[in-house]
Symmetry: C2
Subunit: 209 residues, 2 copies
DNA sequence: TCTCGATTGAACCCGTGGGTTCAACATACT
DNA sequence: AGTATGTTGAACCCACGGGTTCAATCGAGA
């Protein structure tokens, strides 16, 4: 194993640790209240080391949020991909996907990411746009693609897939926001299921074949 | 006119001016970035005068948000009240109410209130709960009441009014959030109409008689 | 063992801004 | 006129925290 690799590996690991710690602390305290000293402590690293890897607090924030957004997007896309094989019971498949989506929305990282970006609209409007593009728009596009296929397969009535996707997501995220207190607390599993089933029921009444 | 009244009136007016200025500045800058000096300037008042009426920055924030939440709630309830006389065309009435609701969601004060409270979840979780109770829950209750009557009148199919209200609101606010960039920019009137009409269409397909 | 780069902790600088003090002043009431 | 209350501006105190500096230290490779 080449030496240079272990060295740069160590560097990368520290950088990752710092970014993870940054997201953690930002998520708990918010941008203004998060102090770099605490981030360094959580990362198990000295404060100058933080500034050695990331230029300043703002860079720290952007990189941490970027990484989290990528992770959440991947998670969501993986769920939507399950609609590729709708099987013989589209309702069951949709309920399964819907349930997995609300569970994803309910996990720690998604909730933190959402309110954290929302909270910093005033200071970093572009961060909000970037995150929303990756988590909101891309998800809607992917879902619209799958719904279009369901229309062609005769499982849904003819409609505009983009609208249908927007509506299904709204029926999922709206009730979730209310129940999670703007993403501050976890929602009981039973309610997750109920939200998913109800949303799919309304969706199929409106868009079913 | 009694003198004492002019005196206390002057006091009240200044207090109101300070709270209005506070909400204005908080909405533009966010809590951490808003400085009391600027609030005083906007209110046309000296800094010690601010501290003379409100104890500290936190009180300033809470009172300003409280007042705004009350105003927004009143605005929303007034709109929902229009469902009391559904007329002979429930779809038209629902579209009218839906359009007025999204317009309310889109106005300056509502958008500011929403992201401002959302942004301060970490520091003041109870403020979020209070605002959400007044703007979200109370609105959903009022709407559920009206929908229940529509069910009895045979304009909607038998259903759980609370669920129906939640779904209609989700179909309205979900697309609005996406289009307004998390409440940061105004949405063109044409899109407001489209969101309202689409939402009501889906709603009636799912809940129509 | 020697070297070089990364890391560390601690101290430091300094801008920002919440909150207070105080003497001067305005206004309204007696 | 005299008094009391509220207001003003300016200066002040002080905590907090971003960002930097530096000498000491550590660890991997030659």
């Amino acid at each position: 194993m080449p030496v240079v690799e272990t060295a740069s590996r160590a560097r990368v690991d520290k950088r990752q640790a710092i970014l993870a710690a940054a997201f953690d602390v930002f998520a708990r305290r918010g941008y203004a209240q998060a102090c770099v000293k605490e981030i360094a402590e959580v990362a198990g690293v000295a404060k100058p080391t933080v500034y050695n890897h990331l230029n300043d607090k703002e860079t720290l924030f952007r990189q941490a949020v970027d990484a989290a957004a990528d992770a959440v997007l991947a998670q969501n896309l993986a769920v939507v991909e399950r609609l590729r094989e709708p099987g013989d019971d589209p309702r069951a498949t949709l309920e399964d996907v819907a349930y997995r989506l609300v569970r994803t929305c309910d996990d720690e990282r998604s909730r933190s990411l959402k309110w954290l970006t929302y909270a910093q609209v005033a200071r970093f409007p572009d961060v909000v746009d970037a995150v929303h593009a990756r988590t909101g728009l891309r998800l809607a596009e992917a879902l619209a693609d799958r719904l279009a296929r369901l229309v062609l397969a005769g499982h849904l009535r003819p409609c505009e897939p983009a609208d249908a996707a927007e509506h299904l997501l709204a029926l999922l995220t709206g009730p979730m926001e209310a129940r999670s207190g703007f993403g501050m607390r976890k929602v009981p599993t039973a309610q997750l299921r109920a939200v998913a089933v109800n949303a799919v029921d309304v969706f199929l009444r409106a868009y079913g074949a």
